[in-house]
Amino acid sequence: MAELSAKKTRWNEWVLEKLFFFCAFVSVITTAAVIFILLEETLTFFETVPVLEFLTGTRWTPLLEPKHYGILPLVAGTMLIVIGAAIVALPIGVASAIFLSEYASHRARSIIKPILEILAGIPTVVYGYFALTFITPGLRVILPDTQIFNAASAAIVVGIMVLPMVASLCDDALRAVPASLRHGGYSLGATSFEVTTRIVVPAGLSGIFAAFVLAVSRAIGETMAVTLAAGATPNLTANPLESIQTMTAYIVQVSLGDTPSGSLTYQTLFAVASVLFVSTLMLNILGTWVMRKFREVYE
């Protein structure tokens, strides 16, 4: 009898372990499905549009005649957002991280950390609203040439959006620098500015770089704010005051209409999403790799 129940228990344990393994394996299936679906539709797309034309073409007009399928305008639009967002988020993020890790009292930290968490938790569509109804009118007061939909407004708001991530990753990197290094600097008579800029920041540089890379990846994938604020005009321009379209905004634009599956327009969704997926994945891998590889190990 005891033998039987032990056998049953072992059988239960075995079943549960397999069940748990399956749950963990769902993530692998998800990745495989993403890659398979993107690849399948993209390859079909390349049967009609040559790869070279897609990657190097300077006109993107899949919804208008004459149709052109060159992704560069969408890439340029995305880059404009990424660069603008980086200009906003990087200096502010690093400076906030320095304040949080080097200067802030325990109390200040306990106030500012939750505020950053709130900023990080606000849905992106809300940032889109903020860009359209607050930042754009503001920009148009300062620079009257600004179009209603423009890259600058979207870039600023994406910068605000990734700021909490940059600040908290950089904060982690700086706090990982051991206090003994700072004490060494101070005991040689250095000021807090010198200790921070010549000892702490260089020691945490890999973490700061990783934060930068991950923030860029986030900005590339950002969708709602750029759809609302940056417009829907694929435009190969470097002028942030003009209306542009990012890769993500194009995907939204197409899916808001009714696109029959199997059509070339339907396939463009997957081709653009492939570029999006590959670029963010590569940046994420680079970011985590830098964080692991170049993390200074102190005894």
Binding site: E13, E17, L19, F20, C23, A24, F25, V26, S27, V28, T30, T31, A33, V34, I37, L38, P91, I92, A95, S96, F99, L100, A104, I112, I118, L119, G121, I122, P123, T124, V125, V126, G128, Y129, L132, T133, L163, P164, T191, S192, F193, E194, T197, S217, R218, G221, E222, L228, I251, V252, S255, L256, L269, A273, L276, F277, T280, L281, N284, T288
Partner: protein
Amino acid sequence: MNDTNPRTQAFTRAQLRRRRAQSKAFEYFCSGVTGLAVVVLALLLYDIFMDGYRWVDAQFLNSFPSRFPEKAGIKSALVGTLWLVGFTAIIAIPTGVLAAIYLEEYAPKNRLTHFIEVNIANLAGVPSIVFGILGLAIFVRFFGLGRSVIAGALTMSLLILPVIIIAAKEAIRSVPSSLRQAAFALGATRWQVVRAHVLPSAMPGILTGVILALSRAIGETAPLIMIGALTFVAFLPSGPMDEFTALPIQIFNWTARPQETFHELAAGGIIVLLAVLLLMNALAVFIRYRGSKQ
């Protein structure tokens, strides 16, 4: 004091004063910039509140969307969001927590485990719109679920799974191993150890992570647009196979219109959305606080 040696020059009074001033200025600069983040948050909340607070009333919560702003409301959006989050929770919480249990308590240290872990970390960084494309191709088209609540919930579940797994793993890892060893020493099986000791101790951490993941699902817009959640719905879903809309979709729809009045409606919708998220966050903080006290 005619010190011309460059190595000691740094310590002359004038130099010292300059360096101290520089250091002080740097400190003020950093704290000022940090203050900027606080100001931005305040501005954002103020802007939205001033635009929308007049619209938030019982009529707004209780009406369907309409061409006429005075009659428009968020009833179908709010109910749709509840359906969506409910099903997402049913699908994603067990899967995510069990996956975390496997990775922390069962998985052997081999290449496959390592691969799964790296894969989860990478999935967490995939843009949400790519999950939308996956949902469109697989759930909506391939499985023929259409633009239904269940298709939306499945897509959302895949999106928040990595978040739940990572949070739950962290919570499980922080359970001291002495607890496990004591139970094993008494002859408990692995599942008995997990169920009776590890899970109860890790529960506050797991719940916090789950709530934060679900609040992310509430705010996500792009994947829902991809799978074709409707923007104009004047009915309530009555089952998982029904079409639906959600709060962020309604907000997006109103914001994208040129008329000022619809922007104000959008702000009203955002106030409700932020209120819901704030409530969930408060719950998470409360659970974390209770957990840390024990």
